[in-house]
Symmetry: C2
Subunit: 291 residues, 2 copies
């Protein structure tokens, strides 16, 4: 097996918020702004102590959070004031949980019963079918959450690409939600082969599918991805050196069409990185815990 790279490759830590009453009961929770339970507070505090022995907090440059208080409170219980001295903290709407619409607050079995009554069938694959339909128009489709998480990924990969060039610390920590973080992790690496083919001109979106994810070419509605100005931002802002860079547009995005078969429990932590120290090879780092 290949040995240790002498260059330090940046990492992205994903942390799911700690326990709420609804995460405990299994109710779908997106926009409802619940607080952590006392048990959730206690356990995330213990986790924070363990994280300080495993993660090198000095390497962290940016902390991103969903706008929901359960995510922000989880961050406050893990990061102390000293940890934050060299970090920028950014609240980003792209990290909010999947918009469930009328499924908000329901249990899976209740959603299945509702869909059956609406004539939408007896089974439901949220990754492929999403939540939006004629009965639930305010919910998000898998294309919609896929698009905003793709935008978010491109933002942080640009930050880390710059960090690799300047050899500055640019580890990132993200506080968000169960579905949204599993989706993000799957896009991070399941899309690699699709993107490689598109970049080499071998395929054009949206016709090509690899069994896990679908690529969509953006022509008219390509989006600026580096305009943070309209974001709700707390505490610190990004570096000036980063902020003044030109806007960048997305030529395409990828969304899921298959279940990522990932688990991420309340308070769970995992890690993303890049193979061969290359921004073009986003990888899932199987080992959070390492030497």
């Amino acid at each position: 097996m290949a040995g240790t790279d002498t260059k330090r490759t940046p990492k992205v830590y994903l942390i799911r918020h700690s326990e709420t009453e609804w995460s405990k009961s299994g109710q779908f929770t997106s926009s409802t702004d619940l607080e952590l339970t006392p048990n959730g507070v206690e356990r995330i505090t213990v986790l924070g102590e363990k994280l300080h022995t495993i993660i090198n907090f000095d390497k962290i440059k940016y902390i991103f959070s969903s706008p929901r208080r359960r995510a922000k409170d989880t961050k406050d219980l893990i990061f102390n004031k000293k940890d934050l001295e060299h970090c920028n903290f950014i609240v980003d709407d792209d990290l909010k949980e999947w918009e469930y619409g009328q499924y908000e607050g329901l249990l899976t079995k209740q959603i299945l019963a509702m869909r059956k009554e609406q004539g939408l069938g007896e089974s439901w694959n949220i990754w492929n079918e999403g939540c939006k339909n004629e009965f639930n128009p305010k919910a998000e489709s898998t294309e919609e959450i896929g698009f905003r998480l793709w935008k978010f990924i491109k933002k942080i990969q640009r930050i880390q690409e710059a960090g690799m060039q300047t050899k500055e610390n640019c580890d990132i920590v993200i506080f968000a939600h169960g579905h949204c973080l599993r989706y993000l992790a799957a896009l991070w690496f399941m899309s690699v082969n699709l993107c490689n083919k598109f970049d080499k001109g071998l395929i054009e979106g949206p016709s090509e599918v690899n069994g896990c994810a679908k690529l969509v070419k953006l022509v008219d509605n390509n989006m600026d991805i580096f305009d943070f100005k309209n974001k709700f931002v707390e505490e610190n802002y990004l570096d000036e050196s980063f902020r003044i860079k030109d806007q960048e547009k997305l030529p395409y995005y990828v969304h899921l069409i298959d279940n990522p078969w990932f688990m991420l429990d309340a308070g769970g932590v995992t890690c993303l990185s890049y193979s061969h120290h290359s921004i073009k090879e986003p990888s899932l780092k199987l080992n959070l815990l390492e030497l």
Copy 2:
């Protein structure tokens, strides 16, 4: 998001052996029986202390290891005598590293140069092309390593299926190698949709491919997977209650055809489990570190 399951779902921890001279230098290491470096010994000892604060060692029933000393020595440095009182330790040939043949001891760039000279092209995807070819007949193809790792997965899933039924602890720890563990993790969850389709009679091997893995139906050469008798076994053996069960045959197996885009550094640790407490839904647990 769905809440915490009240039943305890078994876990499989994957631990890559600690540093050797060749893992440090990046030389391909399969059958060469290297020892750990002093640095590798020191760092895996520190990791073992951390693991004792994160993993519940009392839940572990079986420890499997590759036959190589770097894997077994890593196990000895993590597990102390007390940890092992309730565990069975099994050395399993199915966990040996990919057989590289004539690539053994070489660096990636040396292998690429050799293959170019042999007229095998300038690029090389080990996951798809494997190591076996007319110039390297004693090496393993991706089908061969895929088959033995599939057998191994079926063995441990049978142990855990029984444990879920009897509600006995049946967590498993595996000590092995970089390529082999990444392959195993990819098979664990990338094969789910292929297997579901096969089990429902929707596809027949080997024609169906999902972009990541390929399913092969076994007709004449279906293999007994639960005959441990010919294995080299150390310390304890499996429970009598498990050993006397009927042999089971494999109706099919799955091997990789695509890069799993996973990273697992020397001494790295990750975790596999099952979604919805179901043996039919093997999943990658993104969070090794949890509440």
